[in-house]
């Protein structure tokens, strides 16, 4: 071989293992000793449960990600002044120097404020306003707490979703679930520590980047289950091959992999060893997990779950079963909330449809967790990547544009003080006037409730210590119990 070809033939692993210096072995030792609290971390067992920085309130997270940006004005934020000014031109302060997702909407004619046609009334002891579109959720309003003053940095779906998930608008960083399992592992040895469930007509924008592990070892990436039909494929051993033979094959593969890991010191080999073991265990744990036949009829009805439906209702029930079995982080994506006023995605039938899909299941999830004594240690989060504007957007029908200045999410369980609202916006709901909260603050708070200091959960990459909250974020004390 001539010089160039020879260089190409030399692999990265060659340098780690065969250069005579035994770098692989040194790397492996380093891997084994680097950890949160100085505990030894076994690269073959990246998901082993680990202690947080301080005692946690929550042990698991269920993140109900409403993809597309739900309209807070149709659901949670009652603004009589907006009603009064319906159809009037929006104040200059709302537009001057601002950029919006769809400039067309606002250049053809001056943007007009849009009131809501949805009826609002107070609910529960807390007296929290909620609209008629979420009657079931309203019945458990006293278990919820609201953040009404969230602001985010980017008004497009993919970057905003990546921002809420990874703390940066450019992709390449680990997602929340990855950071959490990197820090804490999982309580389940038989199921993935970070599971992603999807429902609705399509997946979320930015796709797998939302649950990617970035520069963290790939063991921490989110594991998506299937939509309709069986959530997990290929669980049964193929015909003609016994489970015993499968175990023997697996043992041979793993032993050889382990020899290679010892030689090379590449953490990704450890990831693969762990993944193969988990896959084997999932063959028994998986069918048990997705089998709804043990659930009572009352439970199934409460969620509105039907086996094989692949619905948000099914996914909520699955989420409860997952955290019951010790899974650390479950993220549900439901599309589509992006109501710009198109023929289907609008604040009329479009919004009504998607509300119907999530209203009962959300109520059921909270109720179910509470009844099983799991709500105190499970942090439930509901929201999207941004909100919608108080100005209307006129396409085929009526809608609103993306709004990043102030929007609303709710949380429940896991150390959150129930019945509270943090943050207030002006009378048109455009700007925050009290307790402004940034996405980084939400991320810091989630980590805090899990017992993690967001400034200490770091990973050295490209010469600096990265963290979920980038260089910002502070815990929202007013939200805590």
């Amino acid at each position: 071989m001539n010089g160039d070809k020879r260089l190409l033939a030399v692999t990265r692993r060659h340098f780690f293992g065969d250069c005579g210096v035994g770098l692989g072995k040194i790397a492996l030792t380093a891997l084994c000793t680097r950890d949160l609290a100085g505990e030894n971390r076994d690269p073959q067992n990246p998901m082993s449960a680990r202690k947080p920085h301080f005692p946690p309130k929550a042990r698991s997270v269920i993140f109900l990600f409403m993809a597309g940006g739900p309209s807070q004005f149709e659901l949670f934020e009652f603004k009589p002044k907006l009603q009064e000014y319906d159809g009037k031109t929006a104040p200059e302060a709302f537009l001057k120097g601002k950029r919006f997702a769809f400039m067309d909407s606002f250049t053809k004619e001056p943007p007009k404020l849009l009131g809501t046609k949805r009826q609002f009334r107070r609910h529960g002891q807390s007296g929290r306003y909620m609209s008629e579109l979420l009657p079931n959720l309203a019945s458990v309003v006293d278990d919820l707490s609201f953040l009404s003053s969230i602001h985010t940095d980017n008004f497009n779906h993919a970057p905003a979703k990546i921002f809420l998930n990874t703390g940066a608008i450019r992709f390449g960083r680990p997602s929340m679930g990855s950071w959490v399992t990197y820090g804490l592992g999982s309580e389940s040895a038989d199921l993935p520590g970070f599971v992603v469930l999807k429902s609705g007509p399509r997946g979320p924008r930015a796709g797998a980047l939302n649950w990617g592990s970035g520069f963290l070892p790939s063991a921490f990436q989110g594991v998506p289950f299937q939509g309709g039909g069986d959530p997990i494929l290929n669980l049964s051993t193929p015909g003609g091959f016994s489970r015993k033979q499968q175990r023997q094959s697996l043992d041979a593969v793993q032993d050889l992999n382990r020899m290679r890991l010892a030689e090379m010191g590449d953490a990704e080999i450890g990831t693969r060893i762990a993944a193969y073991e988990m896959a084997y265990r999932m063959q028994t744990a998986g069918p048990e997990l997705i089998d709804f036949s043990k659930e009572s009829k009352a439970t199934l009805e409460m969620y509105g779950a039907e086996p094989g439906a692949g619905s948000f209702a099914n996914n909520c029930l699955l989420a409860r079963r997952l955290v019951e079995r010790g899974v650390r982080f479950v993220q549900l994506y439901h599309t589509d909330w992006d109501h710009h006023g198109g023929p289907v995605t609008n604040l009329e039938g479009g919004l009504e449809q998607v509300c119907r899909e999530i209203d009962k299941p959300c109520m059921a999830l909270i109720t179910d967790l509470k009844q099983r004594g799991l709500l105190n240690e499970t942090l439930v989060i509901w929201g999207g990547e941004f909100g919608r504007t108080p100005m209307g957007e006129r396409r085929e029908t009526v809608g609103r544009n993306h709004h990043i200045e102030a929007y609303t999410m709710w949380l429940a369980g896991g150390g959150v003080q129930p019945g509270r609202t943090v943050g207030a916006t002006d009378e048109f709901g455009f700007f925050t006037v009290e307790d402004k909260v940034h996405v980084h603050d939400i991320q810091a708070t989630i980590l805090h409730l899990l017992g993690l200091d967001h400034t200490r959960l770091t990973y050295r990459f490209q010469g600096r210590d990265f963290r979920l909250t980038d260089v910002g974020g502070s815990v929202i004390q007013k939200l805590l119990a």
Binding site: K244, Q245, Q248, S249, D251, V253, L256, N257, R260, E268
Partner: protein
């Protein structure tokens, strides 16, 4: 492999290893594969034979073919085989 390499277990394992991973097997690696092969041969001989579903080439006993297929599967599922660096 069964056709090209003389019927000696060690040589066949070496051949398969080099074909899949472009390197010689370490003694402990070859030993581990040999152990696996023997396990398969034993259980197949003892009648855990679904190998009748496999179409063995002429002159090769189905059980033998099944055992070596299993070895090939192990090699092709190694991290080193799947990951190209």
């Amino acid at each position: 492999m069964l056709r090209d390499v003389p019927a000696e277990e060690g040589a066949r394992i070496e051949y398969a290893f080099r074909l899949c991973l472009s390197r010689n097997a370490q003694p402990e690696e070859a030993g581990r594969l040999a152990r696996f092969l023997r396990l398969q041969q034993d259980s197949l001989a003892a009648g855990a034979v679904q190998s009748l579903q496999l179409k063995a080439p002429d002159g090769v006993a189905p059980a033998e073919f099944a055992a070596w297929t299993a070895v090939a599967r192990v090699l092709m599922n190694l991290d080193e085989f799947i990951t190209r660096e």
